[in-house]
Amino acid sequence: MRRTPLPPDALDDTDRALINRLQEGIAITQNPYAALGAEMGLSENEVLTRTERLRGIGALTRFGPFIDAAAMGGAFCLCAMEVPEDRFETVLTLVNAHEEVAHNYERVHRLNMWFVLACESEGEITRVADRIERETGVTVLRFPKLKEFFIGFRVSA
């Protein structure tokens, strides 16, 4: 995924309006892009070619269904560890070796390693987190979500 800003002239006003509108979601109908175009004063073809280009240049990371992963079955848990600096790389290797670790970030804090476990069940979350504690000798604090306030991913382009 692109991690640097696009050049300032990469997007015109229509591109920006399209990025904003596409984040809201499309209608589930036979011709959703024609409907969206009609709403914005664009042809269906223009919606399609511009969206394709926006994806191509990395302005959009994806376009498709946003799934509530928990609704699909499965369990997720944010975890945090206080990893001693001199053991950071060793612990990192041990943690990342677990395929249940979906993503992992280093953060500036006493708790310096934050990762998400994605498992089939709550029981498996406990099992994997306990195993990471045994393997690393570092306590794994667990922060399962109690409630999600989902508005999500809206950026004014």
């Binding site: 959009l60 498709g64 509530d68 993503h103 992992n104 979500k145």
Partner: protein
């Protein structure tokens, strides 16, 4: 909430993205042997049930110039947390917002809000806005900036239910 094998086929087929063609649901149907009408009906039903939140684009914050982000965390009085959390989650610069259990004594914070901005000053200004919104219900705060992505595979759906 649960889905059957056909719904699962639709979701796995579209995980990489919805086709950018005039009749995308007909194309998805052709991949998995379903008619366009059935795909549309099933996708609409899944959206109705909240399994699909919406069919939409995910912007790339970095490409759009929002290169700074921080995980802001707050200790909010429990009786106010749901109401205030919803308000924080609705702010345009907050991309994820969760209520989570505290881990006392190590961790007193129960509200997590991911803030994005063009730079760190902008993130801090947004953070001040959240603090103002929380008012006296806020008993403690911190912000954690990320320095490195150590792993990012995302959550992938398995093809078959296990």
């Amino acid at each position: 909430m649960s889905i059957d094998a056909t719904d699962r086929k639709i979701l796995t087929a579209t995980q990489g993205g919805l086709p950018l063609t005039p009749r995308p649901f007909a194309v998805v149907g052709s991949w998995i042997g379903l008619g366009e009408d059935e795909v549309i009906a099933r996708v609409a039903a899944m959206q109705e049930k909240g399994i699909i939140r919406r069919i939409a684009a995910a912007p790339n914050h970095y490409a759009l110039g929002m290169t700074a982000n921080g995980m802001s965390v707050w200790d909010v009085a429990d009786e106010m947390a749901e109401k205030l959390g919803a308000q924080v989650g609705a702010l345009e610069f907050v991309t994820h917002c969760y209520l989570r259990p505290r881990a006392l004594p190590d961790w007193p914070y129960n509200l997590f809000a991911m803030i994005h901005g063009a730079n760190r000053d902008e993130v801090e200004a947004h953070r001040a806005e959240i603090q103002k919104l929380l008012g006296s219900a806020c008993r403690g705060k911190d912000i954690l900036y990320s320095t490195r992505i150590l792993k990012k595979t995302g959550v992938r759906l398995r093809k078959e239910a296990s």
